[in-house]
């Protein structure tokens, strides 16, 4: 088996429990070494943004956001390993790396209670240059609705090039697609994004989803 990240040969470790369930074994995408480069968030975390921390009380960043609460869960810590992953996947555009996180995302989605899954969209220019939406790349057959689009002529600076203050005052970048109301009315919606930094992007998205008539909006990010 070849690891999708380091492209080295490896022997997958098969645990007994998986063998005994008689289900077809999912092929692991990452070797043991690459697996340890990413740190899953386990144990206490901020109940609002999902950041890993020592306590389960609301973290400092979220305290400042009290006015617009949005409950987020995160799968991995945004540490050096995850930054290296995102660098190769998102910025160098190595679409094959989506396979590395499909299984953990599948598990994380199973633990969420929602009716409709809405991934954060990318703008037209990014679609042309990157050639894929990094968020939907992690989905492996789970149904989702592209209820949001990025408003025309929105793309200016990438989020990562802005300071925290600049990000907090960004104007609403999203719009609802024409049939959004039918998709969202009375539903529990789960937003899906790559990295939770300030939460500004997700809050903009949540606001539009509520306009569309959703009953509840929560979010899941790959990293925090």
């Amino acid at each position: 088996m070849i690891c999708v990240w380091c492209q080295q040969q490896f022997q997958p470790i098969i645990d007994l429990k998986a063998l005994l369930t008689w289900r077809p074994l999912p092929a692991p995408a990452l070797c043991a070494t690459c697996t340890t480069r990413l740190t899953p968030i386990t144990g206490p975390s901020c109940p609002t943004c999902g950041r890993r921390q020592a306590t389960t009380s609301i973290c400092y960043d979220c305290e400042r956001w009290q006015a617009e609460p949005l409950k987020n869960h995160a799968v991995f810590q945004y540490d050096a390993g995850m930054k290296a992953y995102m660098q190769q996947y998102k910025f160098q555009g190595d679409y094959a790396l989506r396979l590395a996180l499909q299984a953990p995302l599948r598990q994380a989605l199973r633990r969420q209670a929602y009716d409709v899954l809405v991934p954060i969209p990318i703008d037209q220019q990014t679609w042309l240059t990157r050639g894929f939406n990094q968020v939907t790349g992690w989905l492996s057959g789970q149904p989702f609705q592209q209820a949001l689009t990025v408003k025309h002529a929105h793309k200016e600076q990438p989020q990562s090039a802005k300071t925290r203050e600049q990000r907090l005052v960004t104007p609403q970048p999203f719009a609802l697609v024409p049939q959004a109301a039918d998709l969202l009315r009375g539903q529990r919606v789960l937003l899906l994004d790559d990295v939770y930094t300030t939460g500004r992007t997700l809050r903009h998205a949540a606001q539009q989803i509520y306009f569309g008539g959703a009953k509840a909006v929560t979010s899941l990010t790959l990293a925090r």
């Binding site: 492209q7 190769q88 160098q92 555009g93 190595d94 679409y95 094959a96 679609w127 042309l128 990157r130 050639g131 894929f132 939406n133 939907t136 790349g137």
Partner: protein, 440 residues
């Protein structure tokens, strides 16, 4: 008008359309049933596809992604160089008689446009031997590249070439650099960087030609022949030619210049073999062989600086800890992925450190005057015959300290170790015939 010089002899994707350039070539092309990258020439896997349907190459992704929607542009090499007013070779040093003999042979071969090999022992001063041929090539307005599979070799070489050919435009290219590309007559770069060139160079000097990963990478081997002009030629440099090169030499397929003697005229240090029974077991208890500790303490007392080579990155923390417990302190460990690697090697060069514990990454390309060399676990398969000869070749390189000690601790004799000893003995026999002598 745009500055198009970055396209001279290269194949690059253009950020915007460049009106001066003719229609580019699709970067990832369908050939038969498969897709091939036109930069690295590798075949794509059936899964190397983006969500928008485009194909993309994963093999050379680090140099910026190419897809079936990207175009590559090129302008054939115009050799637009102006020669410096004075002498081209500004190097002040002197070649020894043996070096001079080799230098003349190398220059003659390049004047005749031959592909050639310079086989010179570690510490022979092979860089300087190439200078006269290089000066001739530059005077012909040739575009020349000095390339190596190892980035350390390039980093050590570039400032020396800068000094030796001060009036010649030069640039250094390697993976993580931030300085922009400039069109230059003399390029020093890693072989990976050649993937961006096409028929640019009239002469290519390939340093450490037997080093990883070139020897095992058809992609890099092809990169060399593509970067060379159709009318061009190349010079391979090595101290330890691999099997394939040795076969070509025996069959007379390669013009070979052979230099079995170091520039200072002293013979190569021999490898002193010592048994270290079950040292790995001891290491789990944070202990190193008593013999080794005694030797390193002696080095400490006499302020003899040393390099300790160990088989694996994972051995480094344990060995550092065991050394520390034995009171051998103040040094550093270094390995390929170490973010402070360059800084540590520089500190060692500047005599700021008493020792370095290292994996095979420092086997070649680095020179520390008056250094003792110790190998722990020399029977581990990571130490090939060539690696051992190169490692031993770190010792005794300077004319002031030609006597270098090389000690190799093993659990058992292996073929690689015996072959390395035999190769050094053979080189020394030939060196003696040319007047080589043992240092006192």
């Amino acid at each position: 008008m745009n500055d198009l010089s970055e396209f001279f002899g290269r194949r690059l994707p253009a950020a915007q359309a460049v009106p001066e350039l003719e229609d580019g070539q699709i970067a990832v092309q369908r050939i038969g049933q498969r897709y091939q990258c036109q930069r690295c020439q590798q075949w794509l896997a059936a899964t190397d596809r983006l969500a928008n349907g485009a194909w993309y190459c994963r093999q050379c992704l680090q140099m910026g992604r190419l897809t079936s929607q990207t175009k590559l542009y090129t302008i054939s090499e115009p050799n637009r160089f102006s020669l410096p007013p004075g002498k081209i070779l500004t190097w002040q040093g002197q070649l020894s008689a043996e070096q001079q003999r080799a230098a003349t042979l190398v220059k003659t071969a390049v004047q005749q446009g031959h592909n050639q090999l310079l086989w010179a022992v570690t510490g022979a001063g092979k860089t300087e031997i190439v200078y006269p041929a290089m000066a001739w090539a530059l005077a012909q307005r040739w575009r020349v590249a000095w390339v190596s599979p190892r980035v350390d070799v390039c980093l050590e070489l570039a400032p020396r070439l800068q000094q030796a050919f001060r009036g010649v435009s030069q640039c250094l290219l390697y993976g993580d650099q931030s300085t922009p590309y400039t069109y230059s007559q003399l390029t020093t770069c890693t072989i990976h960087q050649l993937l961006r060139f096409e028929h640019a160079f009239d002469w290519l000097v390939v340093d450490e030609v037997d080093a990883f990963p070139l020897a095992t990478s058809p992609m890099l081997q092809r990169a060399i022949s593509r970067a060379e002009k159709k009318t061009g030629c190349h010079l391979f440099l090595t101290a330890t030619p691999g099997e394939q090169l040795q076969r070509q030499i025996r069959r007379g397929q390669l013009t070979t210049t052979y230099l079995p003697l170091r520039y200072h005229g002293f013979l190569l240090p021999r490898i002193d073999l010592r048994l270290a029974w079950r040292w790995r077991m001891q290491l789990t208890k944070q202990r190193l062989p008593a013999k080794l500790i005694r030797q390193l303490r002696d080095y400490g007392c006499t302020q003899q600086r040393f390099l300790l080579f160990v088989p694996h990155v994972r051995d480094l923390p344990e060995i550092m800890q065991a050394l520390n417990q034995a009171g051998i302190q103040g040094g550093a460990s270094v390995h390929a992925g170490d973010p402070e690697r360059a800084a540590k090697v520089q500190a060692m060069r500047d005599q700021q450190l008493p020792f370095l514990v290292t994996t095979t990454i420092l086997e070649r390309g680095v020179t520390f005057p008056n250094i003792a060399v110790v190998i722990l676990g020399g029977d581990d398969p990571v130490f090939s015959t060539a690696a051992l000869v190169q490692i031993a070749g770190r010792a005794g390189r300077s004319a002031r300290y030609p006597r270098g000690e090389v000690t190799c601790y093993v659990q058992s004799q292996t073929q690689a170790v015996r072959r390395a000893q035999r190769m050094i003995d053979r080189l020394n026999r030939q060196g003696k015939q040319q007047g080589g002598r043992w240092p006192q």
